[in-house]
Subunit: 435 residues, 2 copies
């Protein structure tokens, strides 16, 4: 199968399945050489990658301009165009994030557990790289660099499918990163793109079980659901957040107001932004006027239950009647579903019914309520008297993140360097056998 | 959908998909009530389950006799019949293993990471139950009890598909365990079987994404591969072991002999038994006669390369020429593939080509060889001067095991109680918002 690599048809097979498998195989070989690289080698490469990106700013911006032009022609939304856009300032920021990753501790080689058994066998459970990490994502070229950097630091090769909308920019970025790796004596195959194979390539990546160790989709709900459904490679599901804030009867209402506003409006269109507000009935008539007015000021459209609609109407604030669908909707926009609930039990029941398991918040003065909420809600992150926007690798001290896992296997919540590793048991004896 | 539960058609829907989904839903509800149960409640239930099994010995043995009879009629192999058989002594041992699980620390609630951030946010990453654990396994009724016990201790409900060959015994065991749970005030739905739905039920279990949190197949290679391929529920792959022992030139040959014999013959038909032996060329002419004679004495059939065949023939020992297929074969029997390799590099290359990533062993006196083997072989467990049979939850001090994971995601190597949990971030503030 390797025969086609150097064929006259070019360095890679034309067939998407064979091409992606060849790329994944090369990634596996490259990953082997990185698995035992020491931290200083990896950090030097991260700095070289950062320098190379900055040095290639003009070329990257030019390629990105082609992507932007194509996007505008195809009627891409302004928000998405903004995410896609690369400026010299943004490239500097992306390079700076690589240097930050260089400053983080190396997860590889950490002894997670260890002991000497009564029979004298010495045990160590070590953190080791996964090997080959596949990533399927949408039009955000910064993800290309973030994943390459986190992958390198954790000892992994990455195979990237960045989406056609960002293809020109990503192609330059991947080449520049590969050249930087080569100058540090590391294989350029540590960072490879399969964009040339289009959608068929993405499907081939999902089928490359045995060649790719883990696949992380990052993007909208439909992308993630497709990967979860289609992939034979183990997947870490990320980032769908139907996030709730519950304001309990004992809440400090000023804190509650700030937390609701911050959770909904500090940044819109992100998975840790609030999508539903639940208010305890006992304080609804006092708190709703406060929060509805403040949300109105920030142009947030309210989808309310009857109690909320009555409050809004008394304040002459427009509000839409919430349908069953609203309780499950991740708006990713300046919209919020609002419901009054009779008590904590009803709040917990509502959240259990509609949660996507990402982040759930309670604002309360009651220790019992806080403990019940913490125990009884099953989500990656529980916020007690804090904004839902804190569910973020940087905010939680992980240094950087690959995405936010909403599944229970392997990684839950923000995925940092440790979540890109697996472990290996090393058992050392002196001729030990089992009796 | 719940309407059918109490319908005249009986407590469960007749349709396998609906039936399994209903069972999984009930498991989810039961798991919620267990998630916050304290250790003493769970340990009391484990003891009650052990007592109930012993008290029901006669009934279990009787039901098992039906399974054995059916097995014999269908021509089941003696080895499998032996695994299927339950005697009063075996039931006592199974009950004892439940009491051992009661003695293990509770993994739930452990703070895995925690800190107070510079902004005053207090972080805890807590170990919490998965929720609903599905298990698909073959005719070993002890697994029914092991999984129920480990699941209970780790706060999970289990949904079991134990295979038609063990159905009569498993049915009694599941009922007895459920009754014991009920006497402790815990829901019987914590331990449920889907055997009544046959193969269609197993397929429905693999499709029950969202209702089942993780699915663990345990059994032969074809069972495991089917589950890995078909399941939409996240799977932890277990137990395929193409296990190698490499005897380096600097090995203590008496140790090497004991380790090879123990790895191959201490117990046959288990995933951590050796299937291939690699011998460094420099000591082959001295070591092969020793090891071939000893293996011959223990009735081990040798599949050898030319060097090995020459040695065997010089000793008048029968040996078969190894084919390419032999290097990939998990014999699970008194057979061993034997190859002479020129050096450590060739041994590493051979193992990399054929490993299933379970356990790989080196016998050596060289620190450099040991370190290279440890670093360069990618497997769940590396044995240095120790038998491969030590890759076992009990042997490695985990107390008990659900199986041995050969995948890299979530769990690698023996899966104990911690591997049946996930984590949850709890972030406590005092009105914190993101600037």
């Amino acid at each position: 199968m390797h025969a086609t690599v150097a064929s006259t048809a070019g360095p890679f097979p034309d067939d998407p399945t064979e091409g992606v498998r060849e790329i994944a195989r090369r990634a596996g070989v490259a990953a082997r050489s990185l698995a035992t690289a020491d931290r200083s080698t990896k950090d030097a490469a991260l700095h070289a990658m950062a320098d190379a990106l900055v040095a290639a700013t003009a070329e990257i911006v030019e390629a990105n301009a082609l992507d932007l032009e194509r996007g505008r022609e195809r009627g891409m939304e302004p928000g998405l165009l903004d995410r896609l856009a690369l400026t010299p300032e943004r490239i500097d920021a992306i390079a700076a994030s690589l240097r930050e990753v260089a400053g983080l501790p190396d997860p590889v080689g950490e002894v997670v557990r260890g002991q000497t058994l009564p029979n004298g066998l010495r045990l160590r459970q070590l953190r080791v790289p996964m090997g080959v990490v596949g990533m399927i994502y949408e039009a955000r070229p910064n993800v290309t660099v973030d994943v390459a950097g986190l992958g390198l630091k954790s000892g992994n090769a990455v195979v990237l499918r960045g989406g056609s909308a960002a293809e020109s920019g990503n192609s330059v970025i991947v080449r520049v990163l590969g050249e930087a790796l080569a100058t540090c004596g590391l294989p350029a195959d540590l960072v490879q793109s399969i964009d040339r194979y289009g959608r068929d390539g993405a499907v081939a990546l999902m089928r490359a079980r045995g060649l790719v160790d883990v696949l992380v989709p990052r993007g909208g709900a439909s992308l993630i659901q497709t990967v979860v459904r289609e992939s034979l490679v183990p997947v870490i599901e990320t980032g769908i957040g139907n996030v709730h804030v519950f304001v309990d009867e004992s809440a400090d209402q000023r804190d509650a107001l700030e937390i609701v506003l911050n959770s909904k409006t500090q940044r819109v269109g992100v998975c840790n932004a609030a999508e539903s507000l639940l208010v305890h009935e006992a304080i609804a008539d006092e708190f709703l006027p406060l929060v509805l007015a403040a949300l109105r000021e920030r142009d947030v459209v309210i989808h309310g239950d009857q109690h909320t609609l009555d409050s809004a109407s008394g304040l002459a604030i427009d509000a839409v009647a919430a349908s069953e669908e609203d309780w499950s909707t991740e708006y990713l926009a300046l919209e919020l579903a609002v419901r009054v609930v009779p008590d904590l039990d009803a709040a917990i029941e509502h959240i259990r019914t509609y949660t996507s398991g990402h982040t759930e918040a309670i604002v309360t003065g009651s220790l019992v309520s806080a403990q019940r909420f913490e125990n009884e809600i099953d989500a990656a992150a529980i916020m007690i008297n804090a904004s839902t926007r804190f569910t973020d690798g940087g905010q939680l001290g992980l240094g950087a993140e690959l995405g936010i896992s909403t599944q229970k296997l392997h990684a839950r919540g923000p995925m940092g360097l440790a979540e890109l590793t697996t472990t290996k048991w090393v058992v050392t004896g002196t001729g030990h056998v089992r009796p």
